[in-house]
Amino acid sequence: LASVSLITALAVHCVVLLTMTVFSGYFSHSTDFEVHRNWLAITHSLPVSKWYHENTSEWTLDYPPLFAWFEYSLSHVAQHFDKEMLVVQNLIYTSPATILFQRLSVIVTDIVFIYAVKECCRSVREEKGSKDLLGHPFFILAALLLWNFGLLIVDHIHFQYNGFLFGILLLSVARHLQGRHLEGALLFTVLLNLKHIYLYIAPAYGIFLLRSYCFTKDNTDGSVRWSSFSPVRLVALGSIVISVGALSFGPFIAMGQLPQVLSRLFPFKRGLCHAYWAPNVWALYNMVDKALSVLGVRLKLLDVAKLPKASMTGGLVQEFQHSILPSVSPSITLICTLLSIMPAVLSIWCRPRGARGFLRCLVVCALGSFMFGWHVHEKAILMAILPFSILAVESREDAGIFLMLTTTGHYSLFPLLFTAAELPIKVLLMLLFTLYSFTSLKKLFRGSLLNPLETTYLLGLVAVEILCEVVYPLSPWQHTLPFVPLLVTSVYCSLGVSYSFIRLYVSLLRQHGTDKHKQL
């Protein structure tokens, strides 16, 4: 019975995906579309030694080597669709065959994601007695993951290979939940060598594996028993990490290109925030700075001429210059990120609560880096939302936080699709997912999951949407201050994301507290 309904969910997903993908051929083509086409061309037509030196297009290869090999293998299929897309000089090349190939490649590689979801659903704790198929936690989890609004629009309308990458991440998480830690570690290492943004959650992996895998026993109070350290396990882990790393970076180290590769992977020349501010702490910081400067000018405490000019068009330019508050450097963001994830990581070191404690720590790491990271993209919120879905179907409190986080996080993705024709699609899909997640989780936990304040905040999103996409474009300010809707969106969403982050932290530390209490 269980497998049947899971198959349904999967099949529905396939149909939805197919629909979305095929139709999305008609949507506007994003920059990411050209980015990946360019990478196909680079890996196909140039020798390995030139991959990280090529710069004909401004979208240079800035993913780790395994992803380059992934593109290389895709390019061998691509040449049967249209050879022209594999020419480096053909910038912004969008023949129908190219679009079809690119879209299909996302669908096909999504198989990894579907398999990972199946494995995650297997490891969910089942409640007994529930007869309704739609009410089973594993079914809800499958739907939450497969129909995830963010993943759907980022992958299939905007264009990226996140389904494939998150598939590997979720599979690795599922392996840890099933106690197959070496496999989990291998998968995560591969993932890191496909896209290095997952470095942000590496601390959770590192500490968890060290603490719960390399130490085989705990003391009775749950603290680490140093004598149970198993060197064999550490060597096994280390050899996995080193061999995958060597496979991926080895050739470039041999060619002496490591500094060049690393400079491509970590471009700190970009600004603190992306063109559209991701809804994190820095969006709030920028906003406060801007408010202070406007206030200062009004109160004649500041001289307009002395203010940096770019700050007045903020939101459109990459470099945002702070006028009152001190500027933020990459190292400061790094320190803030590390500080923000430190308590969570320490908590799983002192009191590991199995794979679920690790999963919670992973979500905190993802969200912490999203809140404080340097040049964060709004899409990075998915790194927290997707793994968090697993926790959301198992505990009432997490479900509440999940609803807050997904709804604000997903809404903050709206600016990715900005044409008028895409407006109904994104609104409908968002409503579809949000309605499903609210009603199914509410039914699962039998009762309301949000307090009135949270509900009001979420309803405020509707007001923000109407204001930004319907009312504002009709107003005269649209021409003089075109960046206001984006600014309002990111500031409003950053409140919700920050709130979810704090609540998540509270839940983690409270668990830590109760665990200690129990042992005493």
Partner: protein, 507 residues
């Protein structure tokens, strides 16, 4: 989960599919000088907005009827006028007299698509939800599944949101008629149906069952007493509604005649293009168009149509129940489609609507018919550049309907009501008719897929340029003919006394 949320999810899903299709091309996109149905609708907005009512249906210096002259009843014209007012607010260029001819732009396409979506959302979708919840049997989950399947019917989505028409209004109003009649409000039901008839004259395909159902009900209540009163009430409603719709044209008989003349263009011949009905299919063997004169064709088609709808109408008259009514709607509109004069391939949507209502009762035949009807419009979709949406919506519909309505589990001989075949064909060898049907279904779906693929991928031989459209229409015709027989047998075979109650008990 509660019903309302499941229904909302289904409706949202249906809307998403609709909007996704509407991002595609429309009929006549970038094809001057005549363009297509999209330009026709825009042109009507231009005409109704700029010209006085009495010039709408006449050929004047400002209104060239040869260029997409208005040939639908007054409600369509009023609807165009309403849209034109909105268009004028957004961009006056869209409805400028003469100057806007052939206007095509990104903004205008969005506007036109949005008008379809709004109409659909206001009229068709609520009717579907009401129908499934109040008039179909089964658990709540089953009702939700019915909503989803009806909303995902590809034919209507592709014609309204791809090709471009407002069928969801006329079909939606007719469906409101069915729903309201089913709930027992006969006067309101006839009102809704008259409105739909005044939106598109093709709704005449449905008119006889409505007439027979109401008349049969009057008979049942006794023509001497309450039945007569009901009959008068309905007659007055129909006449008043008609009069209100035609009010601006009533002042002058010439106006009425001209409108009627525009609505029924007899001169256009027995059939156009390739349509999956009897005449076009027969034309492969016998060139009817050249053998018979236009008048003979007209009378000939009229006679055959009447003969084909007679049995189901009489049966409905004798037994005016909702179940009989739904079957009669299918039988009548399908007979009209197969035998009447001047049929368009898009008219298959008229039988498709009542077949949608049977999805819950006879899942497999209904799905089969609906898929065949979508397939029969393939040449049109290919002309409009709608291949990809056609494939995707068809696959989605087949998957959802077969899975959610568990079509294959409900195809025993008994469930499919195949009993009469045994009695009709006594000499038939003993075999499980349900299984035979299932295999025929598999075969037919495979053949449709194959023909679709061939139409797209293969070049027709030089001597037969129309080979694939013809194959498509003959193949679909065979389906329609077979299903017409089947639905007629299901309707006629039902005993006059209320056996259905017993059936319910045994279920």
């Amino acid at each position: 989960m509660e019903n309302w949320s499941l229904v909302s999810i289904c409706v949202l899903f249906g809307l998403t599919a609709r909007w996704a299709v509407s991002l595609n091309s429309y009929s006549g996109a970038g094809k001057p000088p005549m363009f297509g149905d999209y330009e026709a609708q825009r042109h009507w907005q231009e005409v109704t907005y700029n010209l006085p009512v009495h010039e709408w249906y006449f050929n004047t210096t400002d209104n060239n009827l040869n260029y997409w002259g208005l040939d639908y009843p007054p409600l369509t014209a009023y609807h165009s006028l309403l849209c034109a007012h909105v268009a004028k607010l957004i961009n006056p260029d869209w409805v400028e007299l003469h100057a806007s001819r052939g206007h095509e732009s990104y903004g205008h396409k969005l506007f036109m698509r949005a008008t379809v979506l709004v109409a659909d959302l206001l009229i068709y979708i609520p009717a579907v939800v009401l129908y499934s919840f109040y008039l179909s049997e089964g658990s709540n989950k089953k009702k939700v599944c019915t909503v989803l399947c009806i909303l995902l019917y590809p034919g209507l989505i592709l014609i309204d949101y791809g090709h471009f028409q407002y069928n969801s209004i006329s079909l939606g109003l007719a469906l409101w008629g069915v729903v309201v009649l089913g709930l027992g409000w006969d006067v309101l039901g006839s009102l809704a149906f008259v409105l739909s008839l005044n939106y598109k004259q093709m709704e005449l395909y449905h008119s006889l069952p409505f007439f027979c159902y109401l008349l049969g009900k009057c008979f049942k209540q006794g023509l001497a007493g309450r039945g007569l009163f009901l009959l008068v009430k309905i007659a007055v409603t129909v006449l008043v509604t008609f009069a209100l719709c035609w009010l601006p044209f009533l002042s002058d008989p010439g106006q009425i005649l001209q409108v009627v003349h525009r609505l029924f263009p007899v001169g256009r011949g027995l059939f156009e293009d390739k349509v999956a009905n009897t005449w076009c299919s027969l034309n492969v063997l016998i060139k009817i168009k050249t053998i018979l004169s236009t008048d003979t064709q007209l009378y000939f088609s009229l006679t055959t149509t009447l003969l084909a709808i007679l049995p189901s109408s009489i049966k409905l008259l004798m037994k005016p129940t909702l179940w009989q009514f739904k079957l009669a709607l299918v039988n009548s509109s399908l007979a009209f489609f197969l035998f009447s004069f001047q049929v368009h391939e898009k008219s298959i949507l008229l039988p498709a609507l009542p077949v949608c209502l049977l999805l819950n009762d006879l899942p497999l035949p209904a799905i089969w018919f609906l898929q065949a009807s979508t397939f029969s419009m393939l040449p049109l979709f290919l002309k409009d550049g709608l291949l990809v949406p056609y494939v995707v919506t068809s696959l989605a519909f087949l998957f959802f309907s077969i899975y959610l309505l568990s079509a294959f589990e409900h195809c025993s001989e008994d469930k499919l009501r195949l009993g009469p075949y045994r009695r009709l064909l006594i000499c038939m060898p003993r075999m499980d008719l349900g299984r035979v049907t299932k295999w025929k279904f598999y075969f037919s779906i495979t053949a449709m897929a194959g023909l679709s693929f061939m139409s797209v991928a293969l070049a027709p031989p030089d001597q037969l340029p129309d080979l694939f459209p013809l194959l498509v229409s003959v193949f679909s015709y065979l389906h329609f003919l077979g299903l017409l027989l089947y639905f007629n047998i299901v309707q006629i075979a039902e005993p006059l006394q209320s056996v259905r109650k017993n059936q319910k008990k045994s279920n």
